[in-house]
């Protein structure tokens, strides 16, 4: 199964490049990305620009509505993702727990939906 591991963290508290903890954090991500790539588990992983750059799109009554900002304003914002291929949820949980941001923010695990074939 494929799982998307969504990294949620508080933008205002995110560790900047000037922070002495920054190199360690990057190194931890790199190591996890290398390990999961080597095992054939990782399909993709990217950090996101902050929510100030986000645009939300909706179509209502056939008209496109765009709004500035993310879908929902909550304490934690979507900060990045890992897309992984795992045997089951237990394995996905194990990798989610190893993303360094799990210690300060949270990781949401979402299985990727398999789009059913049209039957006709």
């Amino acid at each position: 199964m494929q799982y998307l591991l969504l990294i949620y963290s508080e933008e205002s508290k995110s560790i900047q490049a000037s922070d002495p903890r920054y190199p360690g954090l990057v190194e931890e991500h790199r190591a996890l990305i290398k390990e999961t790539t080597d095992k054939g588990i990782l399909l993709g992983a990217e950090p996101l620009e902050p929510t100030s750059t986000a645009t939300t799109v909706r179509v209502r009554e056939e008209k496109i509505q765009t709004t500035d900002g993310p879908f929902a304003e909550t304490k934690e914002q979507l900060a990045g993702y890992y897309l992984i291929e795992c045997q089951n949820l237990d394995e996905a949980i194990e990798y989610a727990a190893r993303i360094p941001n799990a210690r300060s923010g949270s990781i949401e695990i979402r299985p990727l939906m398999k789009i059913p074939e049209p039957s006709n």
């Binding site: 799982y3 045997q87 949820l89 237990d90 996905a92 949980i93 299985p111 059913p116 074939e117 039957s119």
Partner: protein, 416 residues
């Protein structure tokens, strides 16, 4: 007359075989909903044929065989589903097995997989409880809804949702591997204890259904104990529930009002339960792999052997709560220890410990804290303060039976 007897036997057989057949079926077809639907269809077939053919020698194998056939039909009917590689593989595997036509085979007991899957930590507790009662205990959705005072349709939806989550989120149908065992076992035990407490503590709802929940929890713990490797905490929970449940006949009066442990007629306690709890504890405690359930069971056992409240071995109870605190450091455990100490050293000493706990502020919403405080104040003849504490306790309680007990104590206080 004969028909009725057959019906009864069929009903009993189906009930007995439900959980093991379903577990085996889920293991084969990896889908809770499909397995349950298929088994339901197979049971219908049994009702159609068993009254004439008699009950087969191995009813589980018969049900499993027919249910697999029903499942194949259902998979086939879902055209788009069957196009997927995985279901094609499953289908051909099932059909091959089906061709062998074996109804005499030994079916491995897969209930442990079922229990661990139902109690997976990615499932919310109430849904785990409902699903465990439905699939492992074999209760009808209607019965579960009644026991939890909800509508049957709402309970049905909850069960559908959780079965879908297991399938779509990829929750594995397995006994957890060693590195997850401890954490997952704790989740299972907490679900079983939750079921027990729903039956034991809640006072609203049908009394019989409630006590059934206690018995189901005990039955589930027996299954778990039989199937899991040597785990003293599983047996500890079983002993704890048996010992608690031994007080059932003494816990309510004829009008259904709750009676506190202090005031219970101890001659009504169920002796067999106490003896079994004791036997289990004597077997597991020497293993020295102590855990919170074993300690709580030991507390319950001390109460079980005390002739009355006053002459209870309070030093031992205080010691047990001190040990329990090391495993689950909570203010509630401290409160229980304080009550035991007040029985040894007197109400003044108990009150002092309670004041320390009050300063920490973690028990502000906890009814038993105020009830304990009120009792101690009353013993010290500080009636005005006791009255206030009882009133707070009553306002914090959500349980009508508990409120009754507290109101009675308050009235008694006012009379004096």
């Amino acid at each position: 007359m004969l028909r009725n007897k057959t019906s009864e036997t069929i009903e009993k057989t189906v009930r007995e075989e439900w959980s093991q057949t379903l577990s085996a079926l889920v293991y084969r077809i990896h889908d809770f909903q499909l397995a349950e639907d298929a088994l339901q269809d197979a049971i219908l077939s049994a009702w159609n044929s068993w009254p004439y053919s008699g009950i087969p020698k191995n009813p589980r194998a018969w049900l499993l065989q027919v249910a697999k056939r029903k499942a194949i039909d259902q998979i086939r009917r879902k055209e788009s589903f069957a196009k997927k590689q995985s279901s094609i593989a499953l289908l051909s595997e099932l059909e091959q097995e089906q061709g062998e036509h074996r109804t005499d085979m030994e079916i491995p007991d897969e209930r442990l997989r079922m229990i661990f899957t139902c109690c997976h930590p990615a499932i919310d507790k109430r849904s785990s409880v409902a699903l465990t009662l439905r699939t492992v205990a074999g209760l009808e959705t209607r019965e579960i809804a009644k026991a939890f005072l909800t509508e049957e349709s709402a309970m049905g939806q909850r069960l559908t949702r959780v079965k879908r989550k297991i399938r779509d989120a990829g929750i594995p149908y397995r006994v957890p591997p060693p590195h997850l065992w401890q954490e997952r076992l704790e989740a299972v035990l907490s679900v079983l204890y939750f079921i027990f407490n729903e039956g034991y503590l809640a006072s609203s709802g049908d009394g019989l259904l409630r006590s059934n929940l206690c018995l189901e929890a005990i039955r589930l713990a027996r299954v778990l104990s039989k199937l899991s490797p040597d785990e003293p905490e599983v047996d500890g929970l079983l002993a704890l529930m048996l010992l608690h449940d031994s007080r059932r006949p003494a816990r309510t009066n004829k009008a259904g009002a709750m009676i506190s442990l202090e005031d219970q007629d101890r001659s009504l306690w169920i002796r067999e339960n106490i003896e079994e709890g004791d036997t289990i504890l004597r077997r597991i405690l020497p293993k020295r792999r102590i855990g919170p359930y074993q300690i709580q069971a030991a507390v319950s056992a001390v109460h079980a052997h005390a002739p009355d409240w006053k002459s209870t071995d309070w030093p031992q109870i205080a010691q047990l709560y001190r040990t329990l605190y090391q495993y689950s450091p909570s203010s509630v455990v401290r409160l229980n220890e304080a009550v035991a100490i007040s029985m040894i050293q007197g109400p003044q000493a108990g009150l002092k410990l309670l004041q320390e706990l009050e300063e920490q502020g973690t028990l502000e919403k906890y009814q038993p804290f105020y009830a304990a405080k009120a009792d101690l104040l009353r013993q010290l003849n500080r009636y005005d303060e006791a009255e206030r504490a009882y009133e707070i306790a009553i306002s914090k309680s959500a349980n009508p039976a508990e409120k009754d007990i507290l109101r009675k104590r308050l009235q008694h206080l006012k009379k004096n």
